[in-house]
């Protein structure tokens, strides 16, 4: 079941953004993290020491585990940043900055 159903949500028309080159759908009002969850993704970062995958943890902008690169800008908190049409979201490795 889509959790939008019990809330009787009637969001505006869906739009697309890309996640590591793959097109995914999002609806207005979703954060990048919400769009990624809705698309079945739960990780979009690897840690800088052990290279371990991470995604949402605290969900409210405190833990910085959901850092992701959006439109070339690294270390954005996916749980805070709204998804916008055409966003280019990329899995972030390490510090997120290029060497």
């Amino acid at each position: 079941m889509n959790p939008q159903e019990p809330a009787r949500a009637r969001p505006g028309p869906a739009f697309t953004l890309t996640f590591d080159g793959r097109e995914i759908a999002a609806v207005p009002g979703q954060t990048v993290a919400a769009a990624l969850w809705a698309a079945g993704a739960t990780s979009w970062r690897t840690t800088r020491r052990a290279g371990r995958p991470r995604g949402v943890f605290c969900g409210i902008g405190v833990c910085f585990d959901c850092l992701v690169t959006v439109n070339g800008s690294p270390n954005q908190r996916a749980c805070l940043v709204p998804a916008r049409p055409g966003d280019v979201v990329r899995t972030q490795e390490g510090t997120g900055h290029e060497d």
Binding site: R48, N75, G94, T95, H97, E98, D99
Partner: protein, 383 residues
Amino acid sequence: MSDSLTCDVVIVGAGMTGAACALYASRAGLDVVVVDRGPVAGGTTGAGEGNLLVSDKEPGPELDLALLSLRRWGELAGELGDRIEYEAKGGLVVATTPGRLTALRHLAVAQRAAGVETVDVTADRLRDLEPHLAPGLAGAVHYPQDAQVMPALAAAHLLRASAARLLTGRTVTGVLRGTDGALRGVRTDRGDLRAPAVVNAAGTWGGEVAARAGVHLPVLPRRGFVLVTEPLPPRIRHKVYAADYVADVASDSAALQTSPVVEGTAAGPILIGASRERVGFDRSLSLPAVRALAAGATSLFPFLAQVRALRTYAGFRPYLPDHLPAIGPDPRLPGLHHACGHEGAGIGLATGTGHLIAQVLSGKEPDLDLTPFRPDRFPPEAR
């Protein structure tokens, strides 16, 4: 109470200097106890950047001590290596204007004569050394000997290597004296520690420890803030600072002074200093100070404007009026020794200081003349 000795020497202070004194005293065959009112590296050591520098020192006794210390650090790096995050990264002192470059080059000539390796860097070669430096700088001097350690790790690992007994959370309240008036140990809030020798390595608290021993040593705190950025890939290779820093270090002003000092760390974040102000032990955030640090750092490295500061913290440099530390026996109280007042250079100068203190404690002739560091060189204030 037993009259038996606790140990050969009590070192007051479990910071970098106390740790180095403990290591070299132990290696000289002495039985050592280190006592601190707080934890290991709880004072200035834990708030520092871990500079092992010759570049910021003018020829004289402090530079001689720095050169001695660097040799000792090099040996320790072989033993403790990565655990103390030793990095022989070199320093790059940049001049923003031709006038400042001329002054910097004069200093370098004098430092070279005193045994410092220096390499003049012209403006067009700057980016070979530091690709992200701002354009328009006049030139620089490269100091290959400058190095860095992670100071808290260095203190903790030197203490562990010393095998000294460590008593933290224990405050020295006074000294014990024999019938001849000589020192016989220290009194603490949790019992006496009896020893024929005591080393005051209490950093900014060194003046207070001296007072509790009945001698005058005017150590004052000089506050500094450090800004710490998000972790980055290695982008800044050296310790990079503006030539103005040397003037600020030597200044006697109480007002806020800042000059940019920027360096990467093995762990990823970039550390940004250096501010100096005399405001007592006030630890509260000073936005003017950290703003000035950020302005200085972004002027040297424009890419930093996009980089986020995760935190900032204050530390207190233990500062004596003539900017030289107090090292050696105190003629006013036989048995008392001092190893404090290193201002902002305490990590770098710790090994040389510990080495000299160990020589004194074991009755050897110290490698350096201790006269400039005499602890009784400051006349008591008239009251």
